[in-house]
């Protein structure tokens, strides 16, 4: 710890980082280590932000950081204005339309239109075809509108772009199942339950897919896991209050 403090005091950030990473590796579960690391990495982040502000005050990266700060503070309108300013000068910068989409969704709230948000995510997908999250969100728009063919297309792409994107496998499986394609739904759902074994939703969907494809044993096993994971989450086999659970 002392080494880290000293290194930070003399602006030897490399030593500070190396020391923190070594400590985390050697004491991965130590709460004091993790606490210290959180503070010092935050401090390092703060310093980088200040350097960006000082050394490249007119860069879009500086503006983007400003917008992200405002967005994290809930000042969505101000953040959106800066994002749009960034796009005026740099229309092809990846990630900006995605952030605007997030803001539009937040502003839409419980009952507003999400057309604007959808457009932002579509633009993001055009600019950055490797953005798996944007593909996922577009897939969700389609899935919740019952446009399962399009949803499958987006979710399939999301899983290919990011093979560790667990939610995309679940959403893909659900969309295939909703289309009646239970045989095709099995593979992504099996992938999902391996990645997220504690989520009852995956076990339920897989149980239905097994049942509809004649695998009664598999269906029974997955339904038992659904019940077990539901209890483990304290859901008492019921929805938690009025809102649907994800």
């Amino acid at each position: 710890m002392a080494m880290v403090r000293c290194a930070m005091a003399v602006d030897d950030e490399r030593t500070a980082v190396d020391t923190l990473l070594t400590m985390e590796q050697e004491l991965p579960d130590d709460p004091e280590v993790l606490y210290i690391a959180t503070h010092f990495f935050s401090e390092l982040g703060m310093r980088s932000a200040q350097r960006l502000h000082q050394r490249a005050p007119d860069s879009y990266q500086e503006e983007r950081l400003q917008a992200e700060t405002l967005q994290s503070q809930g000042k969505n309108e101000e953040a959106a204005a800066i994002y749009r300013k960034v796009l005026e000068k740099n229309p092809k910068v990846p990630g900006i339309h995605y952030q605007l989409g997030q803001i539009d969704l937040a502003e839409a709230g419980a009952s507003g239109s999400t057309d604007a948000a959808k457009q932002e995510f579509e633009k993001e997908a055009e600019i950055d075809p490797s953005n798996a999250s944007a593909e996922f969100v577009l897939g969700e728009f389609d899935r919740r509108s019952g446009e399962f063919t399009e949803a499958v297309r987006h979710f399939t792409r999301a899983t290919k772009l990011d093979t560790g994107f667990s939610e995309a496998y679940l959403a893909l499986g659900m969309s295939l199942a909703a289309s009646g394609k239970f045989a095709e739904a099995k593979a992504p759902l099996e992938t999902y339950v391996k990645m997220e074994p504690d989520d009852p939703a995956g076990h339920y969907q897989l149980a239905v897919a097994y049942a509809r494809t004649g695998n009664k044993g598999g269906a029974a096993r997955e339904m038992a896991l659904r019940a077990k994971t539901t209890r483990a989450r304290g859901l008492v086999d019921g929805s938690q209050g009025h809102s649907v659970q994800p």
Binding site: Q66, E68, T69, Q71, S133, A201, Y204, V236, H242
Partner: protein, 575 residues
Amino acid sequence: MRVVPAWPSRALSRRQFLRAVGCSTLAAGFGFPSAHALEASAAPPLFDEIPSSKSRITWTHTAGLSPQMYLPETVGAGCAFFDYDNDGWMDIYLVNSGPCDFYRPASPLRNALYKNNRDGTFTDVTLKAGVPGNAYGMGATVGDYDGDGLPDLYLTQYANSILYHNNGDGTFTDVTAKAGIACPGWATSAVWFDYDNDGRLDLFVCRFADYRKEKNVFCGGHGPGERYYCKPNVYKPMPSWLFHNNGDGTFTDVSRESGIAASLGKAWGVVAADVNNDGLMDLFVGNDTAPNFLLMNQGKGRFMDNGVLAGVAYNPFGAARSGMGVDAADFNQDGWIDLFVANVDHEMYSLYRNNKDGTFVDEAIHTPIGSTTHLMSGWGLKFFDYDNDGDIDLVIADGHPDLTIQAHHPELRYLEPMLLFCRANGEWENVSPKGGRAFQQPIAGRGLALGDYNNDGAVDVLVSTNNGAPVLLRNNAARGNHWLGIKLVGTKSNVDAVGAKVTWRSGTFQRHRTKVGGGSYLSSHDPRMVLGLGHRTTIDWVEVEWPKPGGTKQRFTGMPVDRYITLTEGHSGWK
């Protein structure tokens, strides 16, 4: 002025954001039109609300709302159209709350039986008839359990229910003790149906949660205005009841041996229908914060819950929703019964199309029903042909279960307008804006009963509201279309012909309907069926497939139109 950036804490990690994307808040904003936002049409309304000054129905429901927020307070109650005196005119029954362990009314409360005066007005005959209720009333279920031609009344209550036998002279007798169907506990919806095909009406009674005053849970904060009505997930599920009609005025509780008691739920609504066309009546039960049941009749007095594998138990994520009112009908006319259940806010109501293989698919998302109901909470509901064009439509009474909901969720409302969906050319359309005042004015809608109270062939709607006056809607929509009203009387089959399938034809136009048992929420309906003909002025034939044990098919020709007739099993011709 430039904001000097602090190191921004990421408002949402990717996982958090994507979970939020999947949550109801986002889904509700997918350009879904709110029923509140739809503007009323300038054309004459499809339904006219009849004020109490005209109907003379002055009774109101008293919920006994209290600071302790006992759960039963916001869920009642039911209503019924039934012809208690067999004069051919539908009378009205309204259920009230009453004394129980958590409520002592300051002045006596009672239910209300209103006799139809045949001129648009009604007269309160409750005390004379002897059907006041005696506890915290829930629902009314009408059926001729003893086959004497007189409709009897089963009243579900918290925490004991009553069977009123119709004496045939305008009075009823409480025969609960003799019958053995008191159902101690929180009984909700019930249905008369013949599960063992012996020609007698048996009784299934829904039970809600394990609840007593001492078990009432405190939900919310302790500051002013922070308490709210609990969500039912804090209470334990309970088994419902099934009673076999012994044919001698008594019933046997067969809940256990039938397998019914093996399924624990928090049941609000039930409908009886043969969903797999095997000649045996099944049950679809809407459960709140517990999986819905699809109790498949196996024959020999046994039922098995197939809800999960049928796809009607849970939402797509495998979580139970808050199932409330239910109904069943073959809305797409493919010969297989489909199902419907209303849920609560952020859950969307479910329109389950029968896949003909023991499974169902929820089609609500593909229709305006899904988008319209996403933030709404539904209770009483019924499939029916409101405009007599021959196609099955849908009416729903709505309202949030929690009186305090807006304080905690500003996007939601306790009072909600009714909904009316029209089916035409294979598609559903939200026609609520044309419905009339009742479809614009938000209410705490609960029970919903269908009945043609003025015998004009246009089926009317009665809605009970929580802690308020009932709403009586006269149907204007069917004017100009032709119809035939039939009362079915079973002789070998159960006397109310529950389970009968009716087909009618006019030229190339052919439709069929099944007489399901029950349906809606805590409510009971005009037993007659109105067969819509649209612009057609003649009927080629009407065919009745009587339920088992009769099971025969009878075809009737030379039928009139635009009037009510009676068809009796085994008798040729009509009356």
